[in-house]
């Protein structure tokens, strides 16, 4: 009877409708309201793989690549594909034992899972790569993946170029998470300051992966992919041959030197001693060497050319003269009767000359580097009657100094440049206990570049370019141009503006120039000659609290139409003309004549490059370090000698990760560690010979 209970048909229909509406409601919630699922699905299935562009290359002023990219290979492993391989053969090639092999395999499974490749051996050497290539078919699951690494064919300019290394958490945070763990970034030098230019633009590939993280192909045929753009190249002003010579001359010395082309401000060479081979911090070598270099007490990673603060000593004197001349306090004919010391301020300031008339004019005083003369004109500047007191006179003098780039950062394109020091009056107020409690006599040694005045080799060289240019300079810089530079690229514009230093007259400059020329003719540097070239220079022998005087030499050449300005500082070496002088003249000769002439110049080169002027304290540190190593070595040798039958076995030491390999039994024996040869002094900071062959 269909009529019976027929009304219940409606109820059943209602139940169907309600349930379907509930389902549609939840679908609406999931598909329309909640937006998180699309993101979750994307995270599930789309792997964003960053494609790294190759870093830009840096060329020297003659277009030679001072650094380059070479392809190195990582040995990567995909654990789930590793089945039935000849483990022993692979271990043999890699020179590891099977325990290490299993440990690495387990580590990569823990780190990246079974289905994704992880690095088994980073940056294998070319020989090893060739060996692996031949045998790769035997090792399923293993693969070689390419990674470009920096190489430095000239093995020079480490401080200029800097190094590339993995980012740390601080850099990641600072970059607003642009960089990711494992990225490489320029960490110092040009690599760091031109990071944005050199790194290029990263590409992103969207890849589809499945539930086991296996790559299934590209997403939407690469519709969302962006291509990687290679980093742009840098064309620097560095002359790599000059740079190599500079580093050779500074070998086994502590100090810094800068050579600038005064016409452009382009730095031709910049060296800091001690230095290191930049190849030591490239690729796989980084891990091996960084710790050693960072802990070295002579601080080879420290760029003394821009960070070393040295009292300029007598090399300041041309500047003192210019200030006094411009203020109209003296004229080039001004003379001072020096009797071997400056006595006007009680305690005498000694002068190396005592002969009558050695400071009869500015020219003579500069040539003979008369301390008394420059103390006198410094005091005249401070006590200038135009100002109410010494403080104001000093401030005017400081203003001149800052205009010459002393005591301020010049803005060279290297990170962490130091501004050194031209003290403020507040400093002296504190020293002497009040603004009116000090006068020109208290600070008289500033006049001969001592007291609290310090300068970096870069600042000294910049002062030389100003004098060479008679009043203007370009901010010293290393990079002349960038590849594909656009008109609105302002990166380099600050290095292309000409700065004029106050309005000191040409006559004043001429007077100082003449004096500096005389230095090289009959003055303190008269025995240093550049064949066929007249040059101007000023020697400096700066007292310092650390030991022997610093040997300083500032110069530019040729005298007329100067093309190179050089400042050299050799720490604790003695007279300026003895060590720093020949270094500077040799560099100028090399740059201007393109060669070092045989004879006197060559003798100088031999003498300077072979000299070891490392202070005794640092040598002692090396000695202690080497002794400890040798002592350790000796102990090992003795133990081998005494128990000849057995190899050196270190008793009971766990050689593997017991958590990773719970089933492995500890034999209680380990293979003795490889002993490292102590490198002789001259080989330190050089790459090992095996690496040389590769390049």
């Amino acid at each position: 009877m269909p009529e019976f209970n027929q009304s219940r048909k409606r109820v059943i229909q209602l139940i169907f409708i309600v349930v379907f509406l509930v389902i549609i409601g939840q679908l609406f919630n999931l598909q329309v309201i909640q937006s998180k699922y699309a993101k979750l699905a994307e995270n599930n299935a789309i792997a964003k793989k960053i494609v790294y562009p190759s870093r830009g290359i840096i060329y020297d002023r003659k277009g030679r690549a001072i650094l380059d990219n070479v392809a190195r290979f990582d040995l990567v492993v995909t654990p789930f594909q590793v089945k039935g391989i000849d483990t022993a053969a692979l271990c043999n090639i890699l020179k590891i034992d099977t325990a290490e092999f299993h440990k690495r395999l387990i580590t990569s499974i823990v780190k990246n899972g079974r289905y994704r490749p992880s690095v088994f051996e980073p940056l294998v050497s070319p020989q090893l790569q060739a060996q692996l290539d031949e045998n790769m078919y035997k090792f399923p699951g293993f693969d070689l993946s390419e990674r470009p690494v920096r190489s430095y064919p000239y093995k020079a300019a480490a401080h200029i170029l800097g190094y590339v290394a993995e980012v740390d958490t601080a850099i990641i945070r600072k970059s607003n998470y642009f960089y990711q763990m494992g990225d490489y970034v320029g960490r110092s030098g040009l690599e760091s300051s031109y990071e944005k230019v050199l790194m290029g633009t990263r590409g992103i590939r969207h890849l589809i992966k499945d539930n086991k993280n296996r790559i299934q192909g590209s997403f939407e045929n690469g519709a969302y992919d962006t291509t990687a753009e290679a980093g742009r190249n840098l064309y620097s002003s560095v002359d790599i041959e000059l740079q190599q010579l500079a580093e050779k001359l500074l070998a086994n010395k502590i100090g810094g030197l800068v050579a600038i082309n005064p016409k452009t401000g382009g730095i031709l060479a910049m060296a800091s001693g001690p230095t290191y081979d930049p190849n030591d911090l490239a690729g796989a070598a980084f891990r091996k060497n960084w710790g050693r270099l960072a802990l070295d007490t002579a601080r080879p990673l420290y760029n003394r050319a821009i960070k070393g603060q040295y009292p300029p000593g007598s090399t300041f004197k041309p500047l003192g003269a210019l200030i006094a001349l411009d203020q109209g306090l003296i004229n080039p004919k001004y003379g001072y009767g020096c009797g071997g010391a400056y006595y006007s301020c009680g305690r005498g300031v000694k002068c190396t000359h005592a002969g009558h008339g050695h400071a009869a004019t500015l020219r003579l005083a500069l040539a003979n580097s008369c301390n008394a003369y420059f103390c006198q004109i410094f005091r005249m500047a401070i006590d200038n009657p135009a100002f109410a007191n010494a403080s104001e006179g000093y401030l005017k003098w400081k203003k001149y100094m800052n205009a010459f780039g002393m005591g301020v950062k010049l803005g060279v394109d290297l990170p962490s440049e130091d501004r050194a020091s031209v003290p403020d009056t507040s400093r002296y107020n504190r020293d002497f206990g009040g603004a009116r409690r000090w006068n020109s006599c208290n600070i008289v040694t500033l006049g001969i570049g001592q007291d609290r005045m310090t300068a970096t080799p870069l600042q000294m060289a910049n002062v030389m370019s100003i004098i060479a240019n008679r009043g203007y300079y370009y901010t010293p810089h290393l990079v002349d141009s960038i590849q594909d530079e656009t008109a609105n690229d302002t990166t380099l514009s600050k290095y292309r503006t000409r700065h004029t230093v106050t309005n000191i007259s040409d006559e004043d400059y001429q007077a100082v120039l003449d004096g500096m020329h005389d230095v090289t003719v009959y003055g303190t540097a008269s025995f240093l000659r550049i064949p066929g070239i007249q040059y101007c220079a000023k020697t400096g022998t700066a007292q310092n609290p650390h030991g022997k005087d610093h040997s300083i030499f500032t110069s530019f050449a040729p005298k007329d139409n100067p093309q190179i300005a050089v400042a050299v500082v050799v720490e604790n070496a003695g007279f300026g003309a003895t060590w720093a002088g020949p270094i500077a003249t040799l560099l100028m000769e090399k740059y201007l004549n393109d060669t070092i002439s045989a004879g006197e110049s060559m003798n100088n080169f031999e003498r300077v490059s072979k000299a070891d002027l490392i202070p005794a304290a640092i040598k002692h540190w090396y000695y202690v370090k080497d002794s400890i190593k040798q002592a350790k070595l000796a102990i090992k040798e003795v133990s081998v000698d005494t128990v000849l039958e057995q190899p050196a076995v270190v008793p009971k030491k766990t050689t593997f990760d017991p958590e990773a390999e719970p089933l492995r039994k500890d034999s209680g024996e380990v293979i003795p560690e490889k002993t490292f040869m102590i490198l002789p002094q001259e080989n330190r900071n050089k790459p090992d010979s095996s690496k040389d062959e590769k390049q």
Binding site: N5, F20, V22, L27, Q31
Partner: protein
């Protein structure tokens, strides 16, 4: 010629077309799951190496079967209903003893290369048997004894199926209460049963506090709208209050007590993961114990329900309104949703065609269900009507539970989506259900007993 006439005469072609459309959608979805770019499409069909190839073969077999059913005299079904029911029960019991274990359940009989799941076929037989019993002249379904017998016929296979450890399939038999309701079962039983089931599921998904407030609000609304009735019928007010009290007690006392005190941690974990909710015990010791247990089972994929539901919700949710397009769903094409060709096939539709596609797809089912009810109500014979309602109930239960579990509204119990999910047994069963109905409907002028 005459013969031909009798086959096609009276056949409800709209049902046949809906059936065909759904089977083709199913094939396309299974294909979307398996196909990878650049592969040959036809080759796996011929070599039977892929699931969509096998399913296509099953579809052909089902078409043949459908023709056979349409050729059968409708009296055959009334005559053999009880016999088939008995056979189904015997086969189910047989499977329990000689069956081979598949995924922990002993519900399959393997004969050579042929596998049979009697509990699937039992659905059809039970449906026929129930129709037979209710349509008997001597049965008065308004009597409690008849209702009890009807319930027994429905639930006997369910009990055997539970013994086979196929809880999902067993639950399907409860859908026959909908049929019995239509034939005179007091609505109270249906309402109470459904309410308790809903409350139990809700208690798993929401916290007791939320539910307590929700019940209170619901009760207040009902009381507000029914306030005029209370003057005449005071009892109604107390009834509403009582229902509210029972629901609250179940949600905030009984369920937490059952879960936290009676069940063991791993059982609790399993219950919670059925709705895709992680279970984190408050007691640290217990947590450690559970972690240990889980780590032991890891990789065995013993109980992946939680992961399944999360991935399935991601798949459906990521479809958005318009969907990602056919063959563009990343979740379903790269195996993120497990069992995605059988129980979680709806994910492919949800991801590929989005909200709009899902609603269109659901309306296909709705049209099918409503069509079956229309057919049911136009029968002159009680047998046909009861059978039709049985078919509607089974379809409805399968659709509801299957889709609800993929969108996190129902626990994960493995039952397929009718005519869409991959699987020969399931496709065969639903084909039989539907075509027997079409056959019976073709003879709707006859009074079948």
């Amino acid at each position: 010629m005459r013969n031909n006439n009798t086959i096609s005469k009276g056949i409800d072609w709209s049902m046949v077309i809906l059936y065909g459309v759904l089977v083709i959608i199913g094939l396309l979805m299974i294909f979307a799951n398996e196909y990878k770019e650049g592969e040959s499409i036809l080759q796996p069909v011929l070599s039977q190496s892929k699931d969509y190839g096998k399913q296509a073969l099953w579809a052909v077999i089902c078409a043949v079967l459908a023709i056979f059913i349409l050729l059968t005299d409708s009296k055959f079904f009334t005559a053999t209903a009880n016999l088939l029911y008995g056979l189904g029960i015997v086969l189910c019991i047989l499977a329990l003893f000689i069956g081979s274990e598949v995924k922990g359940s002993k519900s399959w009989i393997v004969l050579g290369g042929f596998r049979l799941q009697p509990s699937e076929l039992s659905k059809v037989f039970t449906c026929l048997a129930l129709a037979k019993y209710i349509s008997r002249q001597e049965t008065d379904f308004s009597k409690t004894t008849s209702q009890t017998v009807g319930a027994a016929i429905s639930l006997l296979p369910a009990i055997i199926t539970i013994a086979q450890n196929e809880t999902g399939l067993a639950l399907v038999y409860f859908s026959f209460f909908l049929v019995m309701y239509r034939e005179g079962l007091p609505p109270f039983i249906l309402i109470a049963g459904a309410s308790i089931a809903v409350i139990l599921i809700l208690s798993l998904i929401f916290t007791p506090q939320t539910l307590f407030i929700a019940y209170a609000v619901l009760a207040a609304i009902v009381i507000f709208f029914c306030r005029s009735l209370f003057r005449r019928n005071r009892l109604l007010l107390w009834l509403i209050v009582a229902v509210w009290a029972v629901a609250s007690i179940i949600s905030s006392v009984v369920m937490p007590y059952m879960i936290n005190k009676v069940m063991k941690p791993y059982q609790r974990d399993r219950i919670y993961s059925l709705v895709g909710k992680p279970y984190i015990p408050e007691d640290p010791e217990e947590r450690a114990e559970l972690e240990k247990l889980k780590s032991k089972n890891r990789g065995k994929s013993q109980n992946q329900s939680e992961y399944n539901v999360i991935q399935s919700k991601i798949a459906i949710g990521s479809g958005g309104v318009p969907g990602k397009g056919y063959l563009k769903g990343t979740q379903t094409r790269y195996d993120f949703v497990p069992e995605q060709r059988t129980d979680f096939i709806f994910c492919t539709i949800g991801e590929g065609f989005g909200f709009l596609g899902s609603v269109v797809f659901l309306s296909l089912y709705a049209i099918l269900l409503f069509r079956i009810i229309i057919i049911a109500e136009r029968q002159r014979s009680t047998f046909s009507r009861v059978y039709a309602y049985g078919v509607a109930s089974i379809f409805f239960f399968h659709i509801t539970i299957n889709i609800c579990m993929t969108i996190g509204l129902a626990p994960v119990i493995g039952i397929p989506l009718p005519l869409i999910s991959y699987g020969g047994s399931s496709l065969l069963t639903f084909t039989m259900l539907l075509f027997i109905l079409i056959r019976l409907d073709a003879d709707r002028q006859m009074i079948l007993r």
